[in-house]
């Protein structure tokens, strides 16, 4: 059997990679991809804990499904915003979208 800590280490590494993507990429869509990685790391963690500690209870599974639904909603609206900004301002670079700065 795979030890629980392996899953947690993998999830932590995945989360860190995702964070790097969010912080470092210039393209807004790439930032969204980083967020997806982070959400998946969280899902992996949730499911690992569910399987090892609470597998008699459905809360973990329902939690993962809810995260999926929220992730989908977030991607849908986020990408729509990016497309809209691209149409109006012809950019997808996150640092150039700074209208609200001033």
């Amino acid at each position: 059997m795979v030890p629980l800590s392996w899953y947690l280490i993998l999830a932590a590494a995945l989360f860190a990679v995702g964070i790097f993507g969010v912080l470092a990429r210039r393209n807004a869509i790439a930032i969204l991809m980083g967020i997806e990685l982070m959400l998946n790391a969280v899902n992996l963690n949730l499911l690992a804990f569910w399987r090892y500690l609470w597998s008699d209870n459905l809360t973990g599974v329902v939690f993962v499904i809810m995260v999926l639904a929220v992730a989908a909603a977030e991607v849908a609206v986020g990408l729509a915003l990016i497309i809209s900004i691209y149409r109006r301002r012809s950019t997808v670079v996150a640092e150039e979208i700074d209208l609200l700065k001033w």
Partner: protein
């Protein structure tokens, strides 16, 4: 080393390498395809965690829907940012540093988890019947269930509103 451990290591390696490619690939389309591979690796891990249902859901939602949505968005917006452009911003090094620190912190925490709790598995596969009932039971997750549908509709309406607006306005 058991078979499950070997599969875990293979899937974990694929997931991590693909994830690193997602954040470093110079071409955005490739980043999207690597993202799909990474998500597929996660699906294999879900199978290892004895949850075939969520593994299939992972494929159905992430790979079939979200990844394709992302690739379509990349294709729609690719005219302005050529792939030869700089993809990593000025803070690239700082970001790498920050995420390494985060990783170190997380690992320090994770390694304190009591080692290898043996898994008492109640059933061979996740009980879909119980899940289905729990989702609509008043004592279960009825509120998240209905709120999810409202959330999805809100996302649909919002996304259509935002994405369609210029076509009408201009």
């Amino acid at each position: 080393m058991t078979l499950a451990q070997l599969i875990f290591l293979a899937a974990a390696a694929v997931t991590l390498v693909a994830a690193i490619m997602v954040v470093t690939a110079p071409r955005l389309i490739h980043a999207g395809l690597w993202l799909i591979l990474s998500l597929a690796g996660i699906a294999v891990l879900f199978i290892l965690l004895d949850n075939g249902f969520l593994a299939v859901v992972q494929v159905a939602i992430y790979i079939d829907a979200i990844a394709i949505l992302i690739i379509i968005a990349v294709m729609l917006t690719r005219a302005v940012m050529s792939d030869a452009d700089r993809q990593i911003n000025r803070m690239g090094l700082a970001a790498a540093f920050a995420s390494l620190i985060l990783l170190a912190g997380l690992l320090a925490m994770v390694l304190q988890v009591p080692a290898a709790s043996p898994a008492p598995l109640v059933e061979a596969e996740v009980n879909l019947d119980a899940l289905g009932r729990a989702l609509v039971d008043v004592d279960g997750f009825i509120l998240p269930f209905e709120v999810a549908s409202v959330l999805l509709v809100a996302a649909l309406v919002g996304a259509i509103l935002v994405a369609m607006a210029p076509a009408r306005g201009d």
